[in-house]
Symmetry: C2
Amino acid sequence: MAKIAIMGLGVVGGGTADLLTENREKIRAACGEYLDLKYILDIRDMPESPYRDLIVHDIAPIAEDPEVSIVAETIGGVKHAYEHTVRLLKAGKSVVTSNKQLVSEHGAELLALAKEHGCRYLFEASTGGGIPVIGPLSRDLSGNEITEISGILNGTTNYILTRMKGGGVGFETALAEAQEKGYAERDPSADVEGTDACRKISILAATAFSKLIPPARIHTEGITAIRQSDVAAAASVGAAVKLLGRAIRRGGECFVLVSPFFVPGDSPLAHVDGVYNAISVTGNYVGDVMFYGRGAGAKATASAVVADLIAAVNEGAPVPAWENAGEDFPTEFGSFSCPRYLAFAGIDRNAVRVVFGDVTFLSGAEGEVAFLTSQKTEAECADGIARLSVGGGQLLSMIRVYEIGERPEA
Amino acid sequence: MAKIAIMGLGVVGGGTADLLTENREKIRAACGEYLDLKYILDIRDMPESPYRDLIVHDIAPIAEDPEVSIVAETIGGVKHAYEHTVRLLKAGKSVVTSNKQLVSEHGAELLALAKEHGCRYLFEASTGGGIPVIGPLSRDLSGNEITEISGILNGTTNYILTRMKGGGVGFETALAEAQEKGYAERDPSADVEGTDACRKISILAATAFSKLIPPARIHTEGITAIRQSDVAAAASVGAAVKLLGRAIRRGGECFVLVSPFFVPGDSPLAHVDGVYNAISVTGNYVGDVMFYGRGAGAKATASAVVADLIAAVNEGAPVPAWENAGEDFPTEFGSFSCPRYLAFAGIDRNAVRVVFGDVTFLSGAEGEVAFLTSQKTEAECADGIARLSVGGGQLLSMIRVYEIGERPEA
């Protein structure tokens, strides 16, 4: 019987305790032994909780109990979660976490600490809620060189974009709906400005490339500037606007970014709607595979936390090592290249052709010119926008276009 | 350094040898040691192969070499593959396989043998080509009670159905195209009659429920009777016809079957086109997750074989035990219930209403009546068809309707 502890009896911690209780026999079958919950660390007493007798208010009894071999960290944030995780790993206890901020900011250091002390630091639940993706990348796809990860990593923004497409409403209205349904926080900035997706692509990129790029160094754009007419223009060519986190290795270059993209209808990512997430992974042997499911929620995220608890009991895989990425990684963003959707007011099609060459015009909103360009680097695109602005053009939208390497035939 | 062998230098065996060579360093990072290919068993000499020096024609040197700890079986079929696998497991060597026929017919026995001899029998590559699904079910989702697996498990039939929808062609034309492109065999029966999908759902159901139902006992229908007008009728209500393998646990009942289904457009399975496969898994905590990718091909399947080689080196998870399912499992198929699409000639809408009650009529082909029923068991449906036949009706098509438990909101 393995004795475990949970730190933080919030939404995910509570879901994890419930799962350990409800599926106790199923977990035993997977582990070969019971997982026995011995402590829950929380600052509150929670006299109404069925787990009240397990609650402790201090980390010491957990860190010092030799019976406890694995701890789930579902506190969130950095300060206490970081201190407790360091203490536990130094005590040789494996830690599994749902804390994307902590992993994306301190993952390299914490993995090194786990290796040094002969225990494990696991973080399936930090990315994609219940969707297995860190596990498949680390195990099932570990024979592949990973060339790309592109994912819909945030359910709130995907709900908003889905409503803007299907419901024909603007960003503000769709956001208000999401807040009403509990899919968006009252302060939605971490979601709509891309911060949450940025932390997740940082973790996915590090898992694939073994180099951790801190979120502050990842080019990140949210969806607050997306207009309903942009979403409609995408739909007019069979595409959907999606907020993607992307980590791409092309030849000697590597790019990691978060931004809205036009996703063509023949990519399965275009059909991922509502609060669902999906992560597409390309490997040099497996080709394109995609993982899809609920990216958040107590029960789904608990499924991932418990998967890591089971892995901590079962597995002897080498502990991965992440370097903290140096200044040369990723490649300077100005050379990132893709086709673009652009919308301008105050100019005509001729001006567009002069500056951007061969483009495809879309039926934009009244008084604007909307079009798709060929491949342009960030630098080339910025230059073109500047030239049209000098000619009186006012930029209304720039959205990058997602190109899939492999497409289903037929 | 782990010494390994491959049995069968065909498409998958060759891809596996290539992967081991090309991604040697990546695999070392995943295992902590090199995987060194020492023998390849094949009846041919293959003097043109880069691996010719490794070829042996007899199993003995592999089975008797104490250095060899893991063997990949990519022979296919049952006879030799079964004999060799038994011999290797009895010698304490782990075996990983892409052989769906062998696993679906003898998996319970071979897993028991592996357990007895302290080695592993792994079969990720037997289902879904390179798509990680056996691994995620066995590890990442192993804390969940699995309530349903529904998948597009055969790329040939999915290509044909995609062409019938997108290209507006009939079954025979689409099959000929698939043969021309190399997606279908000259004798396509194992694909179009559902045999291949049946083996795969047998393996998935056993992985989820620990009971192996031999393919001969699984209700299996193929796609040879699907008409272009059925596909068009599905499209008229936003659905797609897909050949699904399904394993469903509902209350005390369990059903395993392969048949064509109307899949509604709000299911991600409806958008899986061409030769791609996808497997949707529902767990009591994770909700719905889906795994998508290429279900066949040398390189993709090699990715799964190598994932199992790495797992055989790394993992100490308990070896799963499958029972051979008894007569009471699965539930008798006559009580399987779902809505139905039916098309008849020779009757009118009134006759349909009298027999099937409240139905939704679709715009069928000239001279036929096409409609969707409410939930009907197999027995109820057969009874209704019999009653309409007595009244002069000629059944043209019956296709089951896939209902998804959870749908993306918005």
